[in-house]
Symmetry: none
Subunit: 244 residues, 2 copies
């Protein structure tokens, strides 16, 4: 099973986890499926003996876990991110089940770091956090009670990654996705230009930038595409500045 080679390119990101026991259980779930890269964004308590206890023999994953203060930090260098959520959302990205998500993650992981992002046990992921991801994934659940335990959800996704690693299509040529921070820089200059031209009223920005994020994240921008887009933006704004 060589595809598990690419598992080192797959980060499991837990945002704002409340219970350290869940961090430990998630680490165990990851480890049994062969995944080891854990990132913790603002965990309430970590390290913590309860995390170690629940990790059982997977404490190595906890020891090498990175604690970050923002999701951006956890996504540094990542070219593709999937937001795991149980809620349906208004401005939704393409919605995948865990099997589809695993397939896409593994495909991109062959060329770039990727991330699977989980929210807080009660509140899930914020719209701002989801806006930094390229896909939304959801575990099909009973509508009458759809709230999986966090580590159980991690287990399901990691299981699908392992299943997918056994069945990767040969001959597909992977593209190199742009790094998170480069895409963010493009969003920032786009927003700035739109404010300057008056297209966005900063006092009342509506949903314009979230919509733009959704569009471009759906496409998973490649390195060269981001360069072209930034070039276009610069060309358009420079031509207006000339005459000022």
């Amino acid at each position: 099973m060589n595809a598990t080679e690419d598992f080192k390119n797959i980060r499991i990101v837990l945002c704002g986890t409340s219970h350290p026991g869940n961090i430990g259980s998630a680490a165990r779930a990851m480890r049994t499926m062969g995944l080891t890269q854990l990132m913790l964004v603002n965990p309430e308590r970590f390290p913590d003996p309860q995390a170690n206890w629940m990790a059982s023999h997977a404490t190595g994953v906890l020891e090498s876990a990175k604690v970050c203060s923002t999701l951006d930090e956890a996504l540094l260098g990542a070219g593709f991110a999937v937001a795991c959520t149980a809620r349906s959302r208004e401005l939704s990205l393409p919605l995948l089940d865990p099997r589809q998500a695993a397939g896409e993650l593994l495909r991109v992981a062959a060329t770039a770091p990727v991330a699977l992002v989980f929210g807080n046990e009660t509140a899930g992921l914020s719209n701002d956090e989801v806006g930094r991801c390229h896909r939304i994934a959801s575990i099909p659940a009973d509508p009458a009670y759809s709230s999986l335990n966090l580590a159980a959800a991690v287990q399901v996704f990691c299981y699908e990654l392992r299943m997918a690693a056994g069945a990767v299509l040969a001959g597909e040529k992977p593209q190199v996705p742009a790094a998170h921070e480069d895409v963010e820089r493009f969003y920032a200059s786009l927003e700035q230009s739109l404010v300057e031209t008056g297209f966005i009223d900063p006092e009342y920005p509506k949903k314009l930038m979230p919509r733009m994020r959704r569009l471009f994240n759906r496409a998973v921008l490649e390195v060269e595409e981001v360069n072209i887009l930034r070039g276009i933006l610069k060309a358009l704004t420079r031509s207006s500045e000339k005459y000022k």
Copy 2:
């Protein structure tokens, strides 16, 4: 979602469970996937407050759980049973992965009660218990550490049952893609603007527009997105024209 109708014919059987918390977590895992028939063969402690605590909102599954003194009792009336195990066995029955097991279970559940049998957290199922089942199923795991938590294993199998039942993701909302001609109009104005600002040399346009097409077509633009993009383009070029 009619296939989940047959879920009432699927029993989850936990044999000799040591920790009541695992019984509660397993109940929650079942409930979120729409399964409710829990049978407990000689649990060490049940009922127990820790089981209720870990079940979260799935205490109904615990309340209707049947406590049995033998596996035979739990399999009464069942026509097909799958033994879940992490160990390879000498006298092995056909070995399935969770996906294959879910498919077979669901097929038989259309006509008869079936069972998915899990062993004790440490010792697993005895050969005598496995001998009462028709198939062995195993979750593919990292050989270096293959020991899933009991409830995590229950979650994976119940998830596969729900996937096999053809469950539809909640909140899936189909988007309306923009019509071909509207997208083409956007491409035309984009190209025109880029020529006007000198970003594209019409004599030597390179591959810029094909690349832009590829990017936006990958995203499959929606009606409103095309409108926004045309608006942005107009705003940016108008602001330059003002000064001409």
